[in-house]
């Protein structure tokens, strides 16, 4: 099979008349952390939303091109969206736990997918919380409301919730921008651990974060991929002047 988690070919995306992604050709490797950086409005979040077809929820959106995932073109109309979204886990900028208990948040996905066995559910919840480095902090309070957790804990809970349905890849959209530096550092450590098991695609405004956590980085600008290279190379010696201007803060 292919070595890439996503193979994106000639992807174009419009919101109404506005073209937000222009001929994106990108291969997201099946291992390690890939970061996407770029100024606001460059299309990086829209790009992420096409990868699990959340873009379907924007009525004026239409697209062309192909995105191969598991050998299937997930841009086809007849794709199984529920299946796709469980295989492509997503973590958002604002931690968004359900107003339920910690346990029920993590068990939500497996239950929807038909898991009713209490013992199995316990196992999945424990493993997911352990993988999200939250278990030790919540193991005695699994019945407590998720919303009683701190922001950083809530974000790790959301990661655990995504892991509970055994995704093939994790997408993270600015996962730390609502968190303080300590919580951010915990999530970054977690990303470093998780990448052993899951490829991760992270969108971030924080270039230092991209530089810290990722192995390769794509720079988006006005809906185009300007440069895609190893992070080490992109941040010390970028090929494109526009990348250089952006990462050195001399943009515009």
């Amino acid at each position: 099979m292919t070595e890439n988690a996503f193979d994106i070919k000639s992807l174009n995306l419009w919101y109404g008349d506005k073209k937000v992604l222009k001929n994106i050709n990108l291969a997201i490797p099946a291992r390690g952390v890939t970061a996407i950086i770029g100024p606001s409005g460059c299309g990086k979040s829209s790009f992420l939303k096409t990868l699990n077809r959340m873009v379907d929820r924007i009525p004026i959106a239409r697209w062309e091109g192909q995105i191969f995932f598991n050998g299937l073109d997930i841009l086809k109309k007849d794709i199984d969206l529920v299946g796709l979204r469980s295989e492509v886990g997503m973590v958002f900028q604002q931690p968004n736990p359900f107003p339920k208990s910690i346990f029920d948040n993590v068990a939500y996905g497996p239950r929807i997918h038909g898991q009713k066995n209490k013992k199995e559910l316990n196992k999945i919840v424990e493993q997911s919380l352990k993988d999200a480095a939250l278990w030790d902090e919540v193991k005695d309070n699994l019945k407590h409301p998720a919303l009683s957790l701190s922001g950083g804990q809530q974000q790790r809970l959301c990661i655990a919730r995504a892991l509970a349905v055994k995704p093939k890849i994790l997408l993270m959209d600015e996962p730390c921008s609502a968190l303080d530096p300590v919580a951010t550092a915990r999530i970054e450590d977690l990303i470093a651990d998780l990448q052993e098991k899951y490829p991760i695609l992270i969108v971030t405004h924080n270039m230092q974060q991209a530089a810290r956590v990722s192995y390769q980085t794509a720079f988006f600008l006005q809906g185009e991929v300007i440069e895609f290279d190893k992070t080490k190379k992109l941040f010390t010696n970028p090929k494109d002047k526009r990348t250089e201007d952006y990462i050195t803060g001399r943009f515009g």
Binding site: Q208, F235, T236, T243, G249
Partner: protein, 217 residues
């Protein structure tokens, strides 16, 4: 954009140029003092070394602070990395000038075993190399940096020539050995200065192109 950062980078460059200017002068002063038995001049070179050492520390501190506060990336990062490496080479050049000055004091008023011609010539080339390296740094001129490196071949050649010549003086009369050995040290200090100037050129090439080139052989 990023005006404070730009301003601090500019200041950093000015500091390096100032340090470079001082270092360059020590070469000339050290060799002139040697040639003219000018013990006071030699002492001055030795005394000035502290100023250069302090400058190195000051610039180093500025670099570290810029990295910590401004998180430089890409060329900015290479600029600051280059600055950090350059000041080490500059400081070492000044140390070699100091070594030459110490030898001048050691020789004192004792007449030279031969008129000094090649050593001042060697010093001139070494100084030109440092000069060109600093100019290349100001202009971000990679070609000029390569010129610095080419001059290093002349330095090596002249150094060998001086070695052979001093050897004949030593063979001629064993009483020459003491001073001839000292002069050999001077020549080899100047040769090392050439190597450090070559390093400066290499760093400049890295700063501009992002690629490390090994030009010392």
């Amino acid at each position: 954009m990023r005006q404070t950062f730009e301003h601090e980078l500019e200041e950093l460059f000015q500091d390096i140029l100032y340090m470079g200017g001082l270092v360059k002068k020590t070469i000339q002063k050290a060799v002139n003092s040697l040639k003219k038995h000018d013990l006071e001049g030699a002492q001055e070179v030795i005394d000035k070394d502290d100023i250069i050492d302090d400058l190195e520390l000051k610039i180093e501190e500025k670099c570290m602070s810029l990295i910590a506060r401004q998180q430089p990336m890409a060329k900015d990062l290479r600029r600051i990395g280059t600055a950090l490496k350059m000041i080490t080479d500059l400081e070492r050049i000044a140390d070699h000038s100091t070594d030459i000055a110490r030898i001048t004091l050691r020789i004192g008023d004792e007449p030279h075993i031969k008129p000094l011609v090649d050593i001042p010539r060697l010093a001139e080339i070494a100084q030109e190399m440092v000069n060109k390296a600093l100019e290349a740094f100001v202009q971000e001129d990679v070609n000029l940096a390569y010129e610095v490196c080419n001059l290093d071949d002349d330095v090596d050649q002249l150094n060998n020539q001086i070695f052979r010549e001093l050897l004949t003086y030593m063979l001629e009369d064993t009483k020459n050995i003491k001073q001839a050995t000292q002069l050999l040290f001077v020549s080899s200090s100047l040769e090392r200065i050439g190597d450090h100037a070559t390093n400066l050129g290499e760093w400049l090439i890295y700063m501009v192109t992002g690629k490390r080139k090994e030009l010392n052989d």
